[in-house]
Symmetry: C2
Subunit: 394 residues, 2 copies
């Protein structure tokens, strides 16, 4: 038995579908408030969206953020967070929180990892201590964190992978997803307040494997579905075709989350394929290095060409960084090694992504998504008012 | 002629003197609003109070901050700031700004410095480029910055110094102060909007030299006076006696600024000696390293002993960091190397210093300064709720 007793921990309400594009607007109702989709979720890896405060995030309209199970289980530890009343109380954030399962980080950060059917044993990248993550323990840890939405523990495939590797990995991911569901049901039977749970579509770049995965998962009582293993090195047209293939097979009445993607144009394309939720560390990671996305494209604010530029980072943005400071001042802060530069750039970067999805949502509701997307793309690729970047700093 | 034509650039209004202690409450009226004294001025070395935004500073009640002439003349340059309409516009701060003269940094940071009667030549610590600062150029640079209150260019004496060295240095400081006044008058005659100017009392730890300096400076039309060269290594009782000696000789109707000092208890002692203005980088520098001052004493928040402490940094503080977050969370941020930890600790640190001076002011106005100071000191030295520090991290 994998269904839950009582009220589901989250419900999705599909509110509009743009007829021309297929883009969706909805609301994910969580225990910590509604999340309007499509949505960009700022990434709070270690229970903080780097350089930002919870009040910054509520001010800019974020109603959900993401935390990383791998990082938090190692430091400060899931039980420590539970003792605090959960991750919301710990980090002072009272809106929704989604956690990843730790699978991706275990494969990319931990050392001496060993993958078996039972689960993964690994050593912490922090101090070498031994840990394990299994489909069951990932559910337990995320439940201890007290998040609103959790992910199934999945096996993240390396890229490129052979069809056989991809098939084996995908089949294991489905078995692990079912084990996670069963374990959650057991925790709930035991009186535990459990988060919503998403299944993750894997299968690498093989459409028929991803299809088999989606068809298997959609039969299970997940509250939503994630698209995993994409944007890992495959060509862009492949990525978008795989997204379209996945969403076509997923139930209409559940949210779809494209994990770890991507540029604003990628997001708008995926929205047109019916994706509802996104996260990506790149906007904030780049911002801390002095590059921000704006409505006119990528602005390398640390570039000396902006030393006398009195304009804001983005003339179309209403964030505090854009309302109050010039490119020249923010450039000065980066040149002087001042933390405030990273903070202001991050504030703009998160605002831009969150607001872009808000605007997409409004356009979907009003049935003009393609018009919105075309206008956005034209402006975004114009580079108007920007100094041509001397080098790629992605 | 060293007086200014027209309205003075700042005026001081002495509003109350606590009968028992001699502590003063006043208001310095600047072109960017009133500054209520006694006051702690947050330090914005490079045109930013590290990790904080202007809105943080106005929210916590700061009505003046300090910037460093030496740093800003080198980067981004005084002319660049002038082109922006001055330092207020550049950094997005619309309340008062005070600048130091650069003298202290030239002696402590620059390399290959050469001191002559004319001024100081030196090489930048950033790129080795050659620069000069003189009594006249220091006034010009601070005027270009567009600050509200500037400092005379003074010679900062090393400690210890012989009486002869101290005498020569003090006499030069007086000559330089007069040259600065004359140059400011000339700029004003030329139509320049000039800042208020303070003279700086030097003379090392020799009371009669400091007295001669104060007696010479008080005859000149400065808008205020600074106490320089203190807290540089001399014993604490000596420092306090020198402060008392200086203020006794300075005019009642002008503000007195004790430069670069110090702990809250030092400030409260100096207030009792009639000092009105303070700045110090230590509260924020220590905060960035994980140690904050609180109403109960010094709290080393990065200490593992706070890993499960649900209390705020300071139970008596109403800053956002104390209202929203636990010691445990802030400790986690420091352990995880998260910038938000530095920011929250800095926010509290500045709030604590600014509010302590606000409370001192209220006590002076109500004629209960000694009672306030005793209660503050008793609480501050109680260490209540704090883990004993394992080592000094000053």
């Amino acid at each position: 038995m994998t269904s839950l007793p009582g009220e589901p921990p989250a419900r999705f309400r599909l509110e509009a579908v743009d007829a021309a594009s297929g883009a969706r607007a909805g609301t994910l109702l969580t225990r910590h408030g509604p999340v309007q989709t499509p949505v960009f979720m700022p990434v709070g890896t270690q229970a903080t969206v780097k350089t930002l405060e919870p009040r910054d995030l509520t001010d800019l309209g974020a109603d959900i953020l993401l935390v990383n199970t791998y990082h938090l289980m190692l430091r400060p530890g899931a039980k420590a967070i539970r003792e605090f009343g959960g991750v919301h109380a710990f980090m002072g954030w009272d809106r929704a929180v989604l956690s990843d399962s730790g699978g991706f980080q275990v494969l990319s950060l931990a050392s001496l990892r060993k993958i078996r059917e039972e689960g993964v044993t690994f050593r912490s990248h922090l101090d070498g201590s031994a840990h394990e993550l299994s489909p069951e323990s990932a559910i337990e840890i995320q439940t201890l964190l007290g998040v609103d939405v959790m992910m199934s523990f999945d096996e993240c495939l390396q890229f490129p992978a052979t069809e056989e590797e991809a098939a084996l990995s995908m089949e294991r991911t489905v078995r692990w997803a079912r084990r996670g569901l069963a374990h959650r049901a057991q925790l709930a039977q035991g009186g535990e307040s459990v988060p919503a749970l998403f299944g993750i579509v894997q299968g690498g770049t093989y459409p028929h494997l991803r299809a088999r995965c989606a068809e298997a998962l959609r039969e299970e009582p997940f509250e939503g579905f994630s698209l995993g293993g994409l944007w890992v090195g495959e060509p862009a047209p492949t990525s978008h075709a795989l997204v379209a293939g996945d969403t076509a097979l997923l139930p209409e009445d559940k949210p779809r989350y494209l994990m770890g993607v991507g540029t604003p144009l990628d997001l708008l394309a995926a929205v047109a394929h019916g994706v509802d939720m996104f996260d990506c560390v790149l906007p904030t990671r780049n911002a801390r290095k002095g590059t921000v996305l704006t409505s006119r494209g990528r602005l390398v604010v640390k570039n000396a060409a902006y030393a006398k530029d009195t304009r804001p980072l983005d003339p179309d943005c209403d964030c505090y960084a854009c309302q109050r400071f010039s490119r020249a001042y923010i450039r000065h802060l980066f040149a002087a090694g001042e933390i405030l530069g990273m903070r202001l750039a991050s504030l703009h970067a998160v605002t831009f992504m969150v607001k872009t999805m808000r605007q997409a949502r409004a356009a979907i509701v009003e049935g003009r998504y393609d018009t919105f997307r075309n206008a956005f793309e034209e402006r975004y690729t114009s580079g108007e008012g920007l100094v041509p970047a001397l080098r790629e700093s992605a």
